[in-house]
Amino acid sequence: MRNISTPALAIRGGALSYGTTTALTDIDITVMPGEAMALIGPNGSGKSTLLKGVLGLIPLVEGTMTFGESAGADTGIGYLPQTEHIDPEFPVSLKQVVMMGRYRKLGLFTFPGKADRHAVKKAIADVGLTNVANKRFGSLSGGQQQRGFLARALASEPGLLLLDEPFNGLDQPNRDALLQTIRELKAAGVGIIVTTHDLDLAREVCDTVLFVNGRQIAFGPKDDVLTLANLQEVFSDFQVEIDEHTVVVPGHEGH
């Protein structure tokens, strides 16, 4: 059982920068196991910066960042990239890509065993790609590649999972399937951070919301934070249209 009393991720007074340019400040967040946090902000607001910071790709210049025992730099974080610039000719099959999610669990001298092969098979089945498991990864369609990367993240059985715009370009069946996957992961105690432009989606599967625009604008339970005042502050440069159910930020893909 995962320890559910310690946060999967906690950042206190965090600031991140690229070289000398400060990109994001005042980050104070907690992601508990089994909780999903929506990360929302306009383009260039620091969403990717925060994800990179959590992944350890850019350093925290201020504040502290702590991980739960089942997540963090030593055990690995599940990560679903937005658009991956992979070499389409790279000679690996989908199955081999998903097995990469298991690498950290393998010892230096141990080969993948039954449990690893089973986890890979299950992850591929979960994203509905069993029939192309042995195909070269680069030969798959964009949507299939994205689901393949999701399978890799699932196979790693992460304590913390980062999803960068996972709903972009998904059709309705795939969108529903991904929502269901997120619900199952939450039930299994995984802490999740998902960046999205889709506020409906944030309401649907997320528990907390973090608004950023160069700094933290607001963080808290979604019902407290998803307010018109916060939206206006975050998207001050954008025209926000609100109808009965959806809020669409022009210039981005809405649903």
Partner: protein
């Protein structure tokens, strides 16, 4: 002795047998590492390291002859690897600055050797190797250095594959990028040092880069790449050495073994390329 006889009987001669063993071990190490060079697109860095090692070879040779070459090369390789890895990690190096620094290193090496009059033929041996006249000590050190390079890559095999395919996700999985890159660069440098000793500094790239490039032409599967690259290396070593021997004996000319081995590598690559073009044409 004709070429077909040379393929078998020539290796009974001690100096030919020694050359073959050196080349076979080198081919296995260079085959595995060459595949990663190809997958990561590190051909230019490998070329740079080859140049950077040269002043080390030269200084070692001038100071204490053939036995000094290895030490000198290792010191130069260590320095160059660390500098290049850090530079590429911090993105301060453009291809142009790398090229300038490394050409400078190569020039310094040439001047060092040329300035020492006591070592006749030294420059030629450093550039083209002396595969057929390696001593037992040189053969053993070359084999040992190759094996160390091979073990380094085998121990980090999974993270090397992960890094080559998807650098961000490999970092997310908890593999520190600078460690992965440093290990591979050190392994490349070690193979360059070993190969410089055998086939000479100018021909190193044939041994290091051609098998990996060739394997991409032949195989679409990760495992297949390594099998093809190693096999190509073994085959080219055998045929190349026999060809060099046969030409030298029959033609009465002194052909460096490294050159015929390098040319055999290129010939195998050309064959693979032609076969691929024909197969693609047949499929279209």
């Amino acid at each position: 002795m004709n070429f077909l006889d040379a393929l078998t009987t020539a290796f009974a001669l001690p100096f030919m047998g020694r050359a073959l063993i050196v080349m076979l071990v080198l081919s296995v190490a260079a085959g595995v590492i060459g595949v990663f060079i190809n997958l990561r697109g590190l051909e230019f860095l490998s070329d740079g390291l080859t140049h950077a090692v040269f002043p080390g070879l030269a200084a070692g040779f001038v100071l204490s002859g053939h036995n000094g070459v290895l030490i000198g090369a290792l010191i130069a390789a260590a320095a160059a690897t660390i500098v290049l890895t850090l530079m590429s990690n911090n993105k301060v190096a453009s291809d142009a600055t790398t090229a300038i620094v490394l050409t400078a290193m190569f020039s310094i090496g040439v001047i060092i050797v040329s300035a020492s009059s006591g070592r006749a033929g030294g420059l030629e041996q450093l550039l083209f190797g002396h595969l057929l006249t390696v001593t037992d000590t040189e053969a053993i050190t070359t084999v040992v250095v190759s094996l160390i390079a091979l073990v380094l890559v085998l121990l980090t095999f999974r993270r090397q594959v992960f890094r080559a395919f998807d650098s961000v996700a490999s970092a997310a999985a908890g593999y520190r990028r600078v460690v992965t890159e440093l290990v591979l660069n050190v392994a490349i440098a070690l193979v360059i040092v070993a190969a410089s000793n055998a086939v000479g500094n100018l021909l190193v790239l044939a041994v290091l880069i051609v098998p990996g490039a060739l394997s991409r032409l032949v195989s679409n599967r990760l495992g297949g790449l390594f099998v093809v690259a190693i096999s190509a290396g073994l085959l080219a070593s055998w045929i190349g050495l026999a060809a060099g021997f046969s030409i030298s004996v029959n033609g009465g000319v002194d052909v460096p073994g490294g050159a015929t081995v390098a040319l055999t590598f290129i010939a195998l690559y050309a064959i693979a390329l032609i076969v691929r073009v024909i197969r693609k044409g047949a499929n279209a």
